[in-house]
Each structure stands twice: as structure tokens, then as C-alpha cells.
Amino acid sequence: MPHEIALLHNYLIVGAVLFGIGAIGFLSRRNMIVMFISAEMMLQGVSLSLVAWSRFHNDFGGQMLVLFIIAIAACEAAIVLALVIALFQRRGNLDIAQWQFLREANQPEFREEPLPDESGERPEEWPHLPAAGVQPTVSPEEADYRASV
């Protein structure tokens, strides 16, 4: 049944791509929250593959596994966010490089290079609200009263 096979193939490829993108993010980003988001993305890739296999084999096992993945991911999110908050309270930021003294003994140290100048980058522009309406006129006695208060 080529239709089913093509569907399975497409789902598996999309799952593999999600897994790979999550792996890239987990390996390269330094913000702990973004690392955790990437790990969740890898889980999503696996879930997609499991659902595709479940449809292909006409069996609920894959969907059961995805259901338990969702439950475990909720537990994992609670634990990880508690850990992140505890680590943040120790160091004051979310940088995973703050904890690099936990690395193995023969690994080189990561030294932060000074950031190159971002002169080519425009500063963030926020919208300016135009002035609307008219300035209310304040009577002299009210101005006196306000100044005294």
C-alpha cells in the first residue's frame, strides 16, 4: 500500500528533522531555558515518529507511548524549571557556562571572548505614541492647591 508507506516516510522524515534541529539547539545554545526547549523539541520529533508508526501498524501502542511521553514531559518540566530557578538564585543568570567547573578534568575551559561591536546593528525601535487630545487648562487656584498638596 504505497499511500501508507509514503505517509509513514513523510512523518518519519519530519520527526527526524525536528529531532536534529532540537539536537542543534541543545548542543549550541547557552541559555538553560532554550536548552530545555530544544530537548522538548527532540521529544516532539520522537512523538511524531511514534504516532506515524502507530497509524501504520494500526496499533494503539505508539499513541500510548506518546501519551506517557507527554506525562513524563510534564514531570520533567516541573523538575527542570525548579532546578533552573535554584541555579539562577545561586549565580544570578541563566548561563550554563557558569557551571562549567562541573566538566571533566581534561576538558579545556570555555572563555568568553569580548563581544564584537554591534555597530552594524540598529537599536531596537519601539513605537512612539503621538500626542493626542489637548492639554487641559488648569485654573490658577487649582494649580496653587496642587502645589500646596
Partner: protein
């Protein structure tokens, strides 16, 4: 063999250029390379033959993959979380397209509704003013991009080699008797399919399976949720308690 390798190479270079490296030069080039790689990879997907199903699948898959790429490469972690939510919505759509209705809704409720909001709470608690330096420089971006794309390549090779022989065998079944048997099995299989996974009372079947075969696993998962809740409370309390002695460490 050439085109998939080229696609993966383009995607790896694109991701390397898109990942935060302390400078914004080359990000546009990286984005263009990654989009070209996505188009090349998507053009090699086998089509299903029904334009409606194909269109739905291509749209949802594109939303999922593009949002995932944005979630990994954006420098502001709040945007990362928002794009991850978009990717989750795409994944839920793919689940729905594949007949897993309950999982689609559960993904939206649990992931996009609970986990993502918790991320945003923690980001609001812990994010310093402006762009932090650790969001603007990443570890070993070229190596990470190469590793991820090599993983995608190996996985897709494995998928292709596993799934490729089956259509060829089906295509060889030329004699009419075999073809009739094939049609009969196909019809039987269609019936079985409509009886189980894709039937309208899909959720009832899922519940029967969940509370029948997987009852113990379900109870263990409930216990695990409770333990995780207590554990999270303990971790936060301990982290706060030990902060005062070495508070000057930061």
C-alpha cells in the same frame, strides 16, 4: 546521493550562520540557505496522490519545521518560547492529520498550555534587562550544526533503506490472482483500519487500551507526577535555603 548530501550541507551551513555568534552578519544568508535546503528536502518527499492530504501535510510540516528552526536560532529567549509554541501547534496538526485526535488536543493543552506558560513565567523571573551576552554567543555553533545535520542524514538514510523495498515488492505482484488476493487483503486491512485507529470512536478505543493493557503504567505515571511535584518543591526550597551562606558568590 548527491542531492540529499547537498541539502544537508546547505542546512548545516545555514544553521551555523543563523545561530547566535555575537554578530548579526551572515544571518540573512544563513536563513536563505536554510530555506533553500528546506525546499530541496521537501521536493524529494514522496507525494500521497491526493492534493488535499498533500497540501495539509506540506503546510503543517513546513509550519512545524520552520518554527522549530526559529525557536532554536532566535536570540531573545521569549521569542524562542513563542516559536516553540508555534511548532507545537504544527505538531498537534500533524497528529490530527495522522488520526491521533486525543494526542493532538493533549499536546496543545499540556505542552502549549501548561509547560510553555511555565517557561514564560521562569523567563520573566530570570531574564536580565536587555540582551544577555550568553544569548548572543553560542557554544561551537559549526560543530553543533554539523552534528545535528549528520544525525538527520543518518536517520533519513535508515528510514529510506527500511521503507524502500516494500513498494518494490508490491509493484512486482503482477499476476491477476495475486493482485486479487492483494486487493482482498487491502480491503480487509482497510476494514481493520476503520475498525481501530481511524474509526470515529477512536478516543473510546484509546481509553479502553489505556485503562486495560496499560493500567499499571498509568498508575505509575500518576505516582511519578506526584513525586515530581514534591521533588520540585524540595529543590526550590533547598536552593533558597543554601543561598544565604554563599550569597556573595555571585
Amino acid at each position: 546521493m548527491g542531492l540529499p548530501t547537498l541539502t544537508l550541507l546547505l542546512a548545516a551551513v545555514g544553521f551555523w550562520l543563523m545561530l547566535p555568534r555575537g554578530t548579526s552578519r551572515g544571518r540573512l544568508v544563513g536563513t536563505v540557505l536554510a530555506v533553500v535546503a528546506l525546499g530541496l528536502g521537501g521536493s524529494r518527499m514522496p507525494l500521497l496522490g491526493q492534493w488535499m492530504a498533500d497540501g495539509m501535510f506540506v503546510c503543517l510540516a513546513a509550519i512545524t519545521v520552520v518554527s522549530a528552526g526559529c525557536a532554536v536560532t532566535f536570540r531573545n529567549p521569549v521569542y524562542c518560547a513563542i516559536w516553540f509554541g508555534m511548532s507545537l501547534l504544527g505538531t498537534a496538526g500533524l497528529f490530527l492529520l495522522s488520526g491521533a485526535q486525543f494526542l493532538a488536543v493533549a499536546t496543545i493543552i499540556v505542552y502549549a498550555g501548561a509547560i510553555l506558560v511555565t517557561f514564560l513565567f521562569v523567563l520573566m523571573l530570570a531574564q536580565p534587562e536587555g540582551k544577555a551576552s550568553y544569548d548572543r554567543v553560542s557554544w561551537e555553533a559549526p560543530l553543533a550544526a554539523a552534528a545535528g545535520m549528520v544525525m538527520v542524514g543518518v536517520l533519513s538514510l535508515a528510514i529510506g533503506s527500511v521503507l524502500a523495498p516494500v513498494p518494490a515488492v508490491k509493484g512486482d505482484a503482477a499476476p491477476s490472482v495475486l493482485a486479487a488476493a492483494e486487493v482482498a487483503t487491502a480491503i480487509a486491512r482497510e476494514e481493520a483500519m476503520s475498525r481501530h485507529i481511524l474509526s470515529p470512536d477512536h478516543v473510546a478505543g484509546l481509553g479502553r487500551e489505556l485503562f486495560g493493557r496499560h493500567l499499571i503504567a498509568l498508575e505509575v505515571a500518576g505516582m511519578l507526577l506526584f513525586v515530581a511535584l514534591v521533588g520540585a518543591a524540595v529543590i526550590v526550597a533547598q536552593g533558597r535555603g543554601e543561598r544565604e551562606p554563599d550569597g556573595g558568590e555571585r
